[in-house]
Amino acid sequence: MTKRLISTLLLSLGLLLGSASAWAEGPELPAAGNNLRDQASLQRGAHLFFNYCVGCHSLKYMRYSRIAQDLNLSEKDVMQNLNFTGAKFDDPVISHMPAELATKAFGKDPPDLSLEVSAKGADWVYAYLNSFYLDPKSPIGWNNTILPNAAMPFPLWELQGEQTAVMGKDGHAVEKLELSHPGTMTPAQYQQATRDLVNFLDYVSEPAALQRRHYGVWVILFLALFTFLAYLLKKEYWKDVH
């Protein structure tokens, strides 16, 4: 009976985790496929962020110095190639765009992106960056299939080119996006670039993630040793019990 109950419990737990899409409901997204251990990808992503995003978006919980340390970049490198706002090396990444100006231009404040991947998921951000299309009906000229009526005009259009929507039969839903005007990157290059950018934002949302896996291995190995010893000790003493 006990065994059966345990297996029932384990089964339910498996069920719970198996279907553990705790993300908000929505269409299933393709995997971003980013890898935090790929330092070159993180560095490329950082360059993309500081060239195309930081004009409007801050990373207010992220210091330049921490980025340098974690991404293995020199202070000089960061201050010359990433920091265009004149902030100090130890300062957090704050966009230079004044809030009033942004609100005037986009109708809302561009959100801080420090925790974007924690909140939305890497897959979502990746899909979002690949789903902009030209929309004459939109006041900003752009729309997005992942976030309809997004307030942001597509900042990477030079890289990806211009996509246009192919409407479904009912004329309302977007069936697919087609590249109508190529950009400076091939589609494969652009996907890799957005993967790098997502990878960087994933790192930014939890810088400790780089360390914790490293420590985790040793902690678990140590605990396994301790548990093994405790087990031998328990076995030895329990010889008394008949």
Binding site: R63, S65, R66, K88, F89, D90, D91, F222, L223, L225, F226, L229, A230, L232, L233, E236, Y237, K239, D240, H242
Partner: protein
């Protein structure tokens, strides 16, 4: 029932081994908690080097800047104040800063003026007695606390006295000369506090 032989040696060995490994684990687990009291990245950022221009500091004047939340005195010493320094030596606890005050300054400031350039004193303005901020009393005239005053610092808390190089006088509670922070000249008229000069360890 109780007839079996208990292997006491094995028990002792396993108990000791488990206790040692468990003890190591507890100590290791305590490390992150102890380390969490170290200055955080924010505190360190606030404690980053401070750059200060000297252009507007007149001869005989003192400027106070904050570095790591500490008051740093920057004084443009007059020729008279500088000339008075060697004369104070007999009355000081450690005039050469090589005795009890050997650790109170970087090597490059371990000299008579306790500075890189003689006229510019850069010093952490914290009394070495109990941590008050001494007053700058620059004028060379008789003072109630010293009829032969040659300029220096007077601590309001317990009346410790220092000369114009922050060297402590004998017979006061403070034990050591005031501390000189690491600093260097970015150019002729700019100092950066918190960073040693190039080449100095």
């Amino acid at each position: 029932m109780a007839n079996e032989v208990v292997d006491h040696g094995r028990r002792r060995f396993l108990t000791a081994t488990t206790a040692v490994v468990g003890g190591v684990g507890v100590v290791a687990a305590a490390v992150p908690f102890i380390k969490s009291w170290e200055p955080s990245a924010r505190a360190k950022a606030a404690g980053a080097p401070v750059t200060q221009s000297l252009k507007k500091v007149e001869s005989g004047q003192q400027l106070i800047v904050a570095w790591r939340s500490l008051p740093v005195f920057i004084v443009n010493r007059t020729p008279a104040q500088l000339a008075a320094l060697p004369k104070q030596d007999p009355r000081l606890v450690d005039p050469k800063s090589n005795g009890s005050s050997a650790d109170q300054q970087p090597k490059y400031a371990q000299n008579e003026t306790r500075s890189i350039k003689p006229e510019w004193l850069v010093m952490i303005g914290i009394c070495t007695h109990l941590g008050c901020v001494p007053n700058y009393v620059g004028e060379m005239k008789p003072e109630p606390f010293d009829p032969d005053w040659q300029g220096g610092y007077y601590c309001p808390c317990h009346h410790s006295r220092y000369d114009m190089a922050g060297r402590v006088y004998q017979g006061v509670p403070a034990p050591k000369n005031m501390q000189i922070p690491p600093y260097h000249y970015v150019d002729d008229t700019t100092v950066q506090i918190g960073v040693d000069p190039k080449g100095a360890a």
